[in-house]
């Protein structure tokens, strides 16, 4: 008896059908955009979209002890006001259209964090006879940062946000930090 049941869903994530037209800013000077990036970086508003166990870690990152408000991160209920979509949990087939709709309804500039092994590659639930889940969030939406762990600790999620911040500012913050360190070492 051959194995019925479809293999893992593998839509190559690069040629995602672009139902939307993305147009860059009219005034595109580098300094202006860098300044705007610095502003965007310190107010990344995630969309509260927790699917499974990673959602609890995301909530724990938002509350008393780990408190991501320090980084200017305020969870928003609607995709209209959010910049980052944290895909926290397993992605069953029934949820694929919802995730796509929410991603489409977010205004530019928008970023995606795939939190947890399920969002990266299907995690503990992906094997070749699996009928229920999509193996990874990047099969359906373009993902910027992957946070491994099952579930990842809240600190790992905060580090993911910091990694997105460096990505947004194209490493300007790090560059300054490296420059300062070099200066201090030189002075010593």
């Amino acid at each position: 008896m051959e194995v019925k049941g479809n293999g893992p869903i593998c839509i190559p994530s690069r040629d995602l059908s672009q139902e939307y037209v993305e147009s860059p800013a009219v005034v595109g000077f580098a300094p202006v955009q860098d300044l705007l990036d610095l502003a965007r970086v310190n107010s990344l508003w995630p969309l509260t979209f927790g699917i499974a166990c990673c959602a609890i870690e995301m909530m724990a990152a938002g509350v008393a002890r780990f408190d991501w408000d320090r980084f200017g991160i305020i969870p928003r209920g609607t995709p209209r006001q959010s910049d980052v979509m944290v895909v926290a949990g397993t992605i069953p087939h029934k949820l694929v259209s919802t995730i796509k709709t929410l991603y489409d309804q977010m205004p530019a500039p928008r970023y995606v964090i795939a939190m947890g092994n399920c969002a990266i590659s299907g995690g503990p639930f992906s094997y070749d006879g699996q009928y229920a889940i999509v193996n990874g969030a990047d099969k359906i939406i373009p993902v910027d940062v992957y946070i491994p762990g099952c579930p990842p600790r809240p600190e790992a999620l905060l580090q993911g946000f910091i990694k997105i911040q460096t990505q947004i500012t194209k490493g300007i913050i790090d560059a300054n930090r490296r420059a300062d360190k070099a200066a201090r070492k030189h002075k010593k």
Partner: protein, 127 residues
Amino acid sequence: MFSQMVQAGLGEFLFVFIFFLVGLILPLSMVIINFVLGPRIYGKKRLATYESGMPPIGTAWMQFGASYYLFALIFLAFDVDVLYLFPVLLAYQRGTGGFELIELFIFLFLISLAIVYAWRKGAFRWR
């Protein structure tokens, strides 16, 4: 144009005109800066109505219950009278006197009578 206004004694309205201009320019400038500096995404999916991730069922153009209308009316009662509180600052400049405050409270009391009337007639019961 301004000189004739000033001679005709309408100088006072200059301030109102500036007030109107500021009110107009500020929102417009925000929209334009946003349009110019930020990247944009167009597309049918982007502009679809958001209903927690699902395609909305039916249209929003439908008959509404009368209770919503009553709520809007009652909100209006207090919203409009806040408008009347602004000129109070200009009109009552006779100096420190509790009299203006009492008059203000009488005015607010009269407005809240409307709320009490609506309450008695059962506008809040929502059935």
